[in-house]
C-alpha cells in the first residue's frame, strides 16, 4: 500500500522541479480549456496549430539574444505570435486568399525561420528543448508567468463571453448590431497566442498546442454546453498533466510528448466511449423514439 502511494506521490514530494512542473501544467489546463473549446467550436483547430509554429521564431530570437532566458523567449514569442495572427488576418481581408491558407503560409515561413535562428547559435539539444520543452526549465518566474496568463485568460473570457460566443456562431448578426466582431476575434487570437507561450516552457512550442486541442476535442464527447465542456476539458488536461509527468519521471521520457500522449489516449477513449456522439453511444442508441 505504501509503495503504491509512494509511486504516485513521491516524485512530487521529493523533487521541487516536479512540483513546479505539475502546478504549471494545472494552471495551464485551466486557461487552455475554454480557449481550446472555442477553437474547436469555431473550426479553427488547425489555426491553433499554425499559431503555435508562429511562436517559434519569436522564442528563437529571444534565445539568440540571451540564451535560454524565459523572459526574452516569452516576450519574443508573444510579439511574433501576435504579429503573425494580425498579418494572416490582414492578408485574408485585403487579398483574395482565405484566412486558413494565409495562416498556413505564414506558419511555414515562421517554422523555417525559427529552426534556422536556433541552429545559428544553439546546439540540437537546445532546439529539442525549445520544440519539446523541458520541465527542468519551470522555475519560479516561469510558474508566475503561467499562472498570470491562466488568470488573464479566464477573466478575459468571462468578460467578453457574450460577443465571443455570438461571433462564433453568427458573425453576421454581431456585425449587424455593431458588436465589434473584429476586435473580439483579435482578442481571442491574442488569448490563443498567450496560452501557447505559457505552454512552451513546460511542453515546448510544438507540443503546447496539444494542451489546447486534445482535451477540448475529447471534452466534446462528454458535455454539450460550452461551459460544461470547458470544465470537462480542464479536468482531462489536469489528469493528462499528472499522469504524463509521472510517465516522464519513471520512463525518462521528455515531459511534453508524455503529457500530450496521455491527452491523446484520453481523446481516443472519448471517441470510443464518450457520452455524446461517440462510437459506443451511437452503437448503443438502438431503435428510434416514439415521438
Amino acid at each position: 500500500m505504501n509503495h503504491f502511494v509512494d509511486f504516485f506521490l513521491s516524485p512530487f514530494s521529493e523533487f521541487i522541479f516536479m512540483r513546479h512542473a505539475l502546478v504549471a501544467c494545472l494552471a495551464l489546463a485551466l486557461g487552455c480549456a475554454p480557449v481550446g473549446m472555442l477553437l474547436v467550436l469555431r473550426r479553427m483547430s488547425l489555426m491553433g496549430d499554425a499559431l503555435s509554429h508562429a511562436v517559434l521564431p519569436g522564442a528563437a530570437l529571444g534565445f539568440l539574444v540571451s540564451g535560454l532566458s524565459l523572459y526574452a523567449m516569452t516576450i519574443g514569442g508573444i510579439i511574433i505570435g501576435l504579429a503573425v495572427a494580425l498579418l494572416a488576418g490582414a492578408v485574408a481581408r485585403v487579398t483574395a486568399l482565405r484566412e486558413d491558407a494565409s495562416f498556413a503560409a505564414l506558419y511555414l515561413i515562421s517554422l523555417a525561420a525559427g529552426v534556422l535562428i536556433i541552429s545559428m547559435r544553439g546546439t540540437s539539444v537546445d532546439l529539442i528543448h525549445v520544440l519539446f520543452g523541458t520541465i527542468l526549465a519551470v522555475d519560479d518566474p516561469a510558474l508566475i508567468l503561467v499562472a498570470s496568463i491562466a488568470t488573464i485568460t479566464i477573466f478575459t473570457m468571462a468578460l467578453i463571453y457574450r460577443p465571443l460566443i455570438v461571433e462564433c456562431f453568427d458573425p453576421g448578426f454581431l456585425r449587424s448590431v455593431g458588436g465589434h466582431g473584429a476586435t473580439m476575434h483579435f482578442i481571442f487570437l491574442a488569448l490563443v497566442v498567450l496560452n501557447l507561450v505559457a505552454g512552451f516552457t513546460a511542453l515546448g512550442t510544438l507540443m503546447a498546442v496539444g494542451m489546447l486541442m486534445l482535451p477540448a476535442a475529447a471534452a466534446n464527447f462528454w458535455a454539450k454546453q460550452f461551459w460544461s465542456a470547458s470544465l470537462a476539458a480542464a479536468i482531462i488536461a489536469m489528469i493528462s498533466s499528472y499522469s504524463g509527468l509521472l510517465l516522464s519521471f519513471y520512463m525518462n521520457f521528455p515531459s511534453g510528448p508524455s503529457i500530450i500522449l496521455i491527452a491523446g489516449i484520453c481523446y481516443v477513449f472519448s471517441v470510443v466511449f464518450g457520452k455524446h456522439g461517440s462510437l459506443y453511444s451511437r452503437h448503443k442508441a438502438g431503435g428510434h423514439l416514439a415521438g
Binding site: 456562431f169 453568427d170 458573425p171 453576421g172 458588436g179 465542456a229
Partner: protein
C-alpha cells in the same frame, strides 16, 4: 382598393401616430443614383428612389438581378461603387436584416432562448443583464412566432421552418424601424409562411419600413402595396399592380441576361 384597404390604412395611420409618440422615429431610405457591385461589375446600376417611412416594398426580379446586392447596400454591408444611400439618420446597426445565406453555424451548442435574447442587444449589450420586463418581451416574442415551449431546445434539433421562426422572434425583439428580409420564405412550408407573414403584417401596421426580396408573385400581390422590379437596372418601382405586369416581367428577364464579361467602364453620369 375599396373599404377594406381604407379601413386598414386608417388603422395603420392611427397606430402609426401612436408609435411616433412612443418613440419610433420615421426614416426614409433614399437611393441617389446608386451603383452596387462586385469587382467593379455593377449588380445594381444607377438606381434612384425612396423607400418611404412605413412603406412595405417587395423587391423582385430574376436571379442575378441584384436584389440581394441591393439589400446588402441598404444594410451597409456593401459599399456603393457609385452614388449614395441616405438612411435618414438611421444607423445601420438599427436595421434588422435577415440574410438569405445565413452565416449561422446550426450545429453550435446553443438554445433557442439564448439566440432570441440576442435580439435585445441594444438593451443588454456586451455586459448587461436581463430584467423582468425584458423577460416578458422575450416571452411575448416567442409566443408571437409560435415557439412557446421551445426555449430550452438546442438549435441543432430544429427544422428549417422552426429555425426561421427563431430568426423572426429575434428580429421582433430588435424593435427596428426598418426591417430588411432576403427571401425569408424560400423552402419554408405553407403554415410557417402564413404565421410569419402575420408577423410582417404586424410590423407594417406598427408603421415600420419593410423591404423584402420575394420570388412568389402571389405573395407579393397579396401582401405588398409597393414593388420594386429590378434587372440590374430599374424596371419599375411603385404600386404593385402597376409594376407587376407581364410586359415588365418579360422586359426584366431580357435585361438580366446581358452580363458582359469584358464590359467597358460605364460612361453614364461620368464627370
Amino acid at each position: 382598393m375599396g373599404r377594406r384597404r381604407l379601413g386598414i390604412s386608417l388603422a395603420c395611420r392611427r397606430l402609426g401616430a401612436r408609435l411616433v409618440i412612443i418613440g419610433i422615429k420615421m426614416h426614409a431610405i433614399t437611393l441617389n443614383n446608386l451603383t452596387l457591385g462586385y469587382e467593379r461589375h455593377p449588380a445594381v446600376h444607377h438606381l434612384s428612389g425612396v423607400f418611404e417611412p412605413g412603406s412595405m416594398t417587395a423587391v423582385i426580379g430574376p436571379n442575378g438581378s441584384g436584389k440581394s446586392t441591393l439589400l446588402k447596400g441598404i444594410t451597409g454591408i456593401l459599399r456603393p461603387l457609385g452614388g449614395s444611400i441616405d438612411r435618414g439618420g438611421l444607423k445601420t446597426s438599427q436595421i434588422a436584416y435577415l440574410p438569405q445565406m445565413l452565416e449561422i453555424d446550426r450545429s453550435f451548442p446553443i438554445t433557442v432562448l439564448d439566440i432570441v435574447i440576442l435580439g435585445l442587444w441594444r438593451d443588454i449589450g456586451i455586459f448587461g443583464g436581463m430584467k423582468r420586463d425584458l423577460w416578458q418581451r422575450v416571452e411575448q416574442a416567442l409566443t408571437t412566432v409560435g415557439l412557446e415551449g421551445f426555449e430550452a431546445r438546442a438549435i441543432s434539433n430544429l427544422s428549417g421552418g422552426q429555425f426561421q421562426r427563431v430568426m423572426f422572434a429575434r428580429m421582433l425583439l430588435r424593435d427596428s424601424p426598418v426591417v430588411v428580409l432576403d427571401e425569408p420564405f424560400t423552402s419554408i412550408d405553407a403554415q410557417t409562411t402564413l404565421d410569419l407573414f402575420a408577423v410582417i403584417q404586424r410590423w407594417h401596421i406598427e408603421n415600420r419600413t419593410i423591404i423584402a426580396v420575394l420570388h412568389d408573385f402571389d405573395q407579393v400581390r397579396a401582401y405588398f402595396p409597393q414593388t420594386l422590379l429590378l434587372a440590374r437596372d430599374l424596371v419599375g418601382w411603385g404600386a404593385t399592380d402597376q409594376v407587376l405586369t407581364e410586359a415588365n416581367l418579360l422586359l426584366s428577364r431580357r435585361m438580366s441576361e446581358a452580363w458582359d464579361e469584358s464590359a467597358a467602364v460605364c460612361e453614364e453620369n461620368a464627370a
